[in-house]
Amino acid sequence: MSTSLHFLIVTFIVLLVVIALLILAVLLYALYGYRYFQRADAWSEVIGQEVVQSIVSGEVAENEAIDRLSRKPSFRMYFLEKLVNAEGKFSGMASNVIRRIFSEYHLENEALKKLKQKKLYLIAGGIQELTAMRAEKTLPEISKFLNHSSPQVYQEAQYAQVTFRGFEGLRFLGSAKGVLSDWQQLRLLNSVASVPPDGTELVRSWLQSENASVVIFTLRLIRKFQLLTIYPELLILLGHQSAQVRIQTVQTLQALENDTTLKELEDTFLSQSQEVQVEILNVLKKMGDVRAKDFLFQQLHGHVAPAVRIKAAEAIHSLGMKHELTQITDDENTSEELIFIIKHALQERK
């Protein structure tokens, strides 16, 4: 009896100690959090003053508090984060001044430390910070991540190349293995301001990439900069194994349209899958070339897929041939299906 009572008392005391320790741990954690936020608030104030004073004066302002605090690694990380955030709010001279603060305090060292971390978001974040601050001298370090296994990381490294070097920064396309998302392609396209005259050879080589997303990006680049001399290479891409590449090729042919484009699109039509055929008809609709009339009527009457026939009817209508389409629907020998297709196409046009 006395043994079990003794055991109960000991258990109770142990439980009390554990609970007390837990409460203590929670209190210490809360205290740490409170002190962190208090410190962060104070730091934020100091950094804000430095940024504002520098923007207003147009040059990096002397700040003793920053000089003193910037010896602390935790402050430097916080400083970096705040500067990158501030840079995103301004443009012009203000943005340049913020970058000068970054380089004055050598905060690229903090961003570079992130590139050595294992967590992907930290590596990507570090590259983003170096890119935002235009730390071009760190480009060789960033380049090591161009063929990283994580899209989050390699896409930031690609964007950095183009941000720093424009068209020249696109050279990574020659060896890019990962997929370039549509969003990434848009970002890269927006960052390229021009293609140098000797750049077309590089562009041609990217069209031969085994990475379909690289080919698609290159086609978009060709459209953006109207690289007319590359037109013959586009015709070869009409036989590419990826339907998406062929769709983009059709759009690019239209963007670089010449006297032979119509015939080339008509000639390839039957060898293409239905989604590419629909794209060809979309393009013919945009081109508005009356020479396509016979071809379009042929597809309207003879194609097996209703979706293609509807597109053909729409393209015919865009040529100003609504009357001819109405004549077909009024003809009593016309099948119900064809009448429905034409009416549907005309309805779409209203």
């Binding site: 940024v51 923007i55 709010k89 443009s91």
Partner: protein, 119 residues
């Protein structure tokens, strides 16, 4: 010439404030839309610089309040990328000018000076 700034981002607010002070303007700071409206209706304000996205009342509501009160105060709107429809709406309501963020404080000063010269 008192200029009211309505902006909930402290860094932007302080930057504009110090730029205007350096140029010799008098500055009134507000950090939410409702405070801005109350101040405009109760104090002499010659120009308003307001962010479009604001707590309690948006920049558009500030602009409407100015117009409804019959006050002839030029309002410069600060907007973010992709707010084209809101900007058009602001112009329909009579906004004097707008600046897209990220923005150049120097460019904002030029626009303020131009509007101040007309006022």
């Amino acid at each position: 010439m008192p200029i009211l700034i309505a902006e909930d981002d402290e860094l932007i607010l302080k930057t504009i404030e110090h730029k205007l002070l350096k140029e010799g303007y008098e500055v009134i700071l507000t950090r939410n839309g409702q405070d801005a409206i109350n101040t405009i209706l109760s104090t002499k304000v010659d120009i308003v610089i307001t962010d479009i996205m604001m707590p309690f009342a948006s920049g558009i509501e500030i602009l409407s309040a100015v117009k409804t009160a019959g006050k002839d105060i030029p309002v410069i709107m600060l907007s973010s990328m992709g707010q084209e429809e809101v900007i058009l709406n602001a112009f329909d309501l009579g906004a004097a000018d707008f600046i897209v963020k990220p923005f150049s404080p120097n460019e904002l000063m030029l626009r303020v000076k131009r509007i101040a010269a007309r006022t």
